[in-house]
Amino acid sequence: MLPAVCSRLFSTRDDSGRSWLLRSGGILVLPAILCVILASCVAPAVTGGSCDLDPAPAGDEAAIRAVIEAEGHYVVTQQIDALMALWTESAFVANAKNTPDTADDDQFWREKDAIRHRYVRTVFPGAPAAAAPADLEIRIDGNRAEVTATTRIGAEVAPAGDRWVLAKSGQCWFLESLTYNLEAQQP
């Protein structure tokens, strides 16, 4: 059946010598377009980070703010896949352990598998009822941004204790790192 159709498509010619395929080009465009449209429906879209948020934030600063707020929201609702979509592959989380001037004692969760593990095994079991960042200080430098924030996780308040670094890929902002417990311990 198929060879016969192909034979008709490519060899049948009319009196002018034009192939049936060429004459039928207009008709064939439609199914071709349909195929492309169908394929694009299931093709993975390059999204993530701020581009996945609803409503889509307008402008860099709004997108950065929205990503950080979404992180807090997804922590409370324990939506691990949505959380992970906010982070870059090479991201890290660091616990500065309240000694911001001493890097030796910092504790790292490197890359997304470890960050996921931290959420699931350390953050979620605490069942935070609210994790809203406040007092955001945003500094944008091209496709990178640094944000200092005060985080409130339930009753715990860390004034200027968090430093977020975000990176822009395409039109989307992603979390690249979080360093927390940056507030120095009082003697």
Partner: protein, 241 residues
């Protein structure tokens, strides 16, 4: 004319059908029963993952060289694999058993021909209780640690993922901190991952030999002795005889 119209309709119909099949085959295949799946009956085939609570993107099907399920005695896992020779090194801290209440708990000390050593701990259970993430315990005991993931490439293809922990603690009277490198993952008997069917934690622990990367390479070489091939569950099922 009518003949040409018929051919046009046939050609358009065929193109549409081919396009639809090409686009939707991945979604339709399981429903059509054409994607094989792994089951508990498959010999030495397990599901590995970094976590037992939820599937992660690192979930893999793996072909093992030993039995790692609660239908079998974990003590039957070989004492000698490649250059490694093991001896039983049972957990002596009774609190561990009281706290975890594992169905099976096997701990061994293996060493290789280069004088390196590591502990293999296999913990089996049918609930979440026996499976405390190692970092929780290290944290509670005052260790400083970093955490990440590492892929173990297998001899016959594919890779499985484990989480690593690099812990340091300065004990009283010591001038140099003690260091531990831990590498672990979970094994399930089938894709359903029902806790009641049993979960096995496969964990290796050693001192640091060379750099962290060199130490992880040693753990990887050890793990490779027990697992041959990995892939997506359907892929591996397809490859099974």
């Amino acid at each position: 004319m009518a003949n040409r119209t018929t051919w046009s309709a046939v050609a358009i119909g065929l193109l549409l059908a081919i396009g639809l099949i090409a686009v939707y085959y991945p979604q339709l295949a399981p429903a059509l029963g054409s994607a094989p799946s792994l089951s508990a009956g498959d010999e030495f085939t397990y599901i590995t993952d970094l976590d037992f609570w939820q599937r992660t993107p690192r979930e893999r099907a793996v072909l093992a060289t030993s039995r790692f399920d609660l239908g079998h005695d974990l003590n039957d896992v070989p004492m000698e694999v490649g250059p490694w020779k093991g001896v039983d090194d049972p957990e002596t801290n009774r609190e561990v058993m009281i706290l975890l209440e594992p169905e099976q708990y096997v701990q061994r000390l293996y060493d290789d021909d280069q004088g390196r050593y590591l502990w293999l701990t296999m913990v089996g259970g049918r609930s979440s209780q026996p499976f405390h993430a190692p970092d929780i315990c290290y944290d509670a005991d005052g260790w400083q640690y970093d955490l990440g993931s590492h892929a173990t490439a297998l001899e016959d293809g594919g890779e499985i993922y484990g989480l690593w922990l690099h812990g340091k603690k300065l004990f009283e009277g010591d001038t140099v901190p003690e260091e531990h490198v831990v590498y672990y993952f979970y094994l399930f008997p089938d894709e359903q991952r029902n806790q009641a069917d049993g979960i096995v934690l496969f964990k290796t622990t050693s001192a640091r030999f060379g750099t962290l990367e060199e130490t992880l390479a040693m753990h990887e070489a050890f793990v490779r002795e027990f697992f041959r091939k990995a892939g997506a569950p359907a892929e591996l099922a397809q490859a099974l005889p």
